[in-house]
């Protein structure tokens, strides 16, 4: 187990360096003068421009600029906006909203998705199974931003169960609707994944053994079959975090929530390049860390990986 953890940790280092380098190259190594962009249509004052260039290391060679950027990232400095505000400042203010939204959504998709999948697998071919299958197809095909708008109209406006937008009511009232919307697509995928993997493991030899041992049905399904079916689901949940964060950008916009995603969408719109880079770097690092955690969890669930 220990060796597996170490190996997995070592593997992540080149990926972090690679992905930050790509982000850096895409943004900073591109033609175009960000200082001029800052000034907009007017001509930038040459003196001020020179000072700014110096401040942002824009005159140094590329590798030095990358070094400034990467060493900043690892000391918690994600850079600053062109008007001098620290990006980590923005993050600490906005991150809690995204975190609450993300975790709520994660819980919703895992719980409902897994339950629906189990139900579907146990009632395979019956009415309930078909209901779940149709529901998942619908959820997968309706884009998050459409579903968000429709839910706003139905639950916020017409039925007045939840706030329409914003976070004034706090957790959970203001978060539950966006979380469900954000979770919808992944929830559907999880339900289908659980359905197919549980169906497969129910047919497995070791489940027949468990029945032959005289175990009660709940233990046969809940422990022997489920434990194996969860392995692909955990893998999916890990990969899905990336989609979840991408979705958060959209969901926060639909529901007008002041989180990282909303900020990111706004910064893209306003062309605040450093903010975009800082926030994207942060999200990508979170994604990598989460994937690492999932891999470790995978090893806990599947001893065959652990002792490889």
């Amino acid at each position: 187990m220990g060796r597996y953890v170490v190996r997995r940790l070592l593997q992540v280092i080149p990926v972090v360096i690679g992905v930050t380098f790509i982000i850096f190259c895409l943004v900073f190594a591109l033609p175009g003068d960000p200082i001029q962009a800052l000034a907009g249509d007017k001509r930038a004052d040459p003196n001020i421009a020179a000072i700014l260039r110096d401040h942002y290391h824009l005159n140094e060679p590329l590798y030095q600029q990358y070094w400034h950027y990467i060493s900043g990232v690892f000391t918690g400095d994600l850079g600053e906006t062109y008007n001098g505000r620290a990006i980590s400042d923005i993050v600490s203010q906005r991150f809690p909203v995204t975190l609450k939204l993300g975790l709520t959504s994660f819980a919703v998709e895992a719980v409902i998705g897994i339950l629906a999948g189990i139900l579907s697998a146990l009632k395979r071919g019956k009415f309930l199974d078909n209901v779940v299958l149709v529901a998942t197809l619908v959820l997968i095909s309706i884009p998050v931003f459409v579903l968000g708008s429709v839910f706003q109209l139905e639950f916020g406006m017409n039925m007045k169960i939840t706030p329409i937008s914003g976070i004034e009511k706090g957790w959970p009232q203001s978060y539950i609707l966006p979380a469900v919307v954000l979770a919808s697509t992944s929830m559907a995928y999880i339900a289908r994944l659980v359905r197919s993997s549980l169906t497969e493991s129910i047919r497995a030899d070791y489940v027949r053994t468990a029945i032959a041992k005289g175990l009660p049905r709940r233990r046969v399904i809940g422990l022997h079959a489920m434990r194996n079916s969860l392995i692909p689901v955990v893998t999916f949940l890990g990969f899905d975090l990336g989609a979840l964060m991408g979705g958060a950008i959209i969901t926060e916009r639909v529901f007008n929530m002041p989180g990282i995603g909303g900020q990111l969408a706004q910064s893209v719109y306003l062309r605040e390049r450093p903010v975009v880079v800082g926030l994207v770097t942060l999200l990508v690092l979170i994604y990598l860390v989460a994937n690492l955690l999932v891999d470790l969890m995978y090893a806990v669930l599947d001893p065959r990986i652990r002792y490889e």
Binding site: D205, R208, I211, K213, G214, L215, R227, N228, D302, P303
Partner: protein
């Protein structure tokens, strides 16, 4: 989880001869069929056999002969549907298990009747330690705590001669060799000292050198605990040393029964003879090995009359039209041969001719 005392479930005593109600297990006229997309598959068509405490019955047959399906019906682990048991009785200590409730049968499974499967690697749960899977028997059936169950699990692993049992109790199935895994399966079946063990091709997946060890272990434990043993196999070589009697199955029926050594000496059914002749023998070195011609029957279209007739060298017209019943086999002078029966119109010619 409710704690169950397994002795509650069954009225008959374990091995007492005082109030003996017949054999330990008796299968009477058992039929099993499967509803498939292609049609109704009649996998078992009126099987009768019985096993006593301390006795070993070998059930012999090719794949598709219904030997495993019969065993699964006894265990109550058939998937129903698609499987169906339209008629028959399975008497365990004199009580028909087919009439018991699901819960009653569950309490018997593992505790009083246990099963050993062919492929231990796929039959053991890959993500649970062997100690957990062994201990589970005690925790579910006897309500022991996790700790007590682990002690019992180590004892069991010692019992089936797994070296360094205490150190390996937390290992997972894939960390053991094939032979060791099969020992764990045996230990699991043995855990609650059942009255009857069904071993479904327990050595087929193993190396030849390990096969004998595992078979010997099984036989030794069976003698020690005086259990009934049903040994399902397609390998006549495995059977000879271990079994007391043999039932040969073909196309869902028993075609011959006999005490083990008599069967080898004088088979009373052409199919059995064919099986025996296809065993390689040292004294026939250089000669061509005999093989039964043709393929096992398609269970969707079992040939009329005797199911073996298309492959039988001695088949006559009657074999194609009339189903031969299982009749007692006698000596030429009519002396009864105990335990012997054959389902062949020409059993006399086969055994005496």
């Amino acid at each position: 989880m409710t704690i169950i005392d397994p002795t509650d479930a069954i009225p008959a005593p374990r091995s007492g001869d005082a109030e003996k109600t017949g054999p330990l297990l008796e299968v009477r006229d058992l039929h099993v069929e499967f509803q498939t997309r292609e049609g109704l598959v009649k996998a078992v068509n009126g099987v009768n056999y019985s096993v006593d405490s301390g006795e070993t019955l070998a059930v012999l047959g090719e794949s598709g002969s219904g030997k495993s399906v019969t065993a699964q019906a006894i265990m109550g682990i058939l998937d129903m549907p698609p499987a169906r048991i339209p008629q028959g009785e399975i008497l365990f200590h004199g009580r028909d298990m087919l009439k018991m409730s699901g819960e009653e049968r569950r309490k018997l499974r593992g505790a009083r009747i246990a099963m050993i499967f062919q492929d231990a690697l796929s039959s053991l749960n890959p993500v649970l330690s062997v100690g957990y899977q062994l201990g589970e028997m005690f925790r579910v059936h006897q309500g022991l705590s996790r700790k007590e169950a682990k002690v019992k699990a180590i004892e069991l692993m010692d019992r089936v001669k797994i070296p360094a049992a205490a150190a390996r109790v937390n290992d997972y199935p894939h960390q053991f060799s094939g032979g060791m895994r099969q020992r764990i399966m045996i230990a699991m079946a043995l855990a609650l000292e059942p009255d009857l063990i069904i071993a479904d091709e327990p050595t087929t997946a193993l190396d030849v050198t390990v096969q004998a060890q595992v078979m010997d272990l099984l036989a030794e434990l069976q003698r020690e605990y005086q259990m009934g043993l049903i040994l399902i196999t397609h390998d006549l070589g495995v059977v000879a040393d271990v079994a007391d009697k043999i039932a040969v199955m073909y196309a869902g029926r028993i075609v011959e029964t006999a005490p083990v050594h008599e069967l080898y000496k004088r088979p009373a059914h052409p199919y059995t003879r064919g099986l025996l002749d296809s065993i390689p023998r040292l004294d026939q070195k250089g000669q061509d090995l005999y093989a039964i011609k043709g393929l096992p029957p398609n269970l969707l279209k079992v040939p009329s009359g005797c199911a073996f007739n298309p492959r039988c060298e001695k088949a006559q017209d009657i074999c194609r039209t009339e189903l031969p019943p299982l009749v007692p086999v006698t000596e030429r002078d009519g002396t009864e041969l105990p335990g012997r029966a054959s389902a062949c119109h020409f059993w006399k010619e086969t055994i005496h001719g």
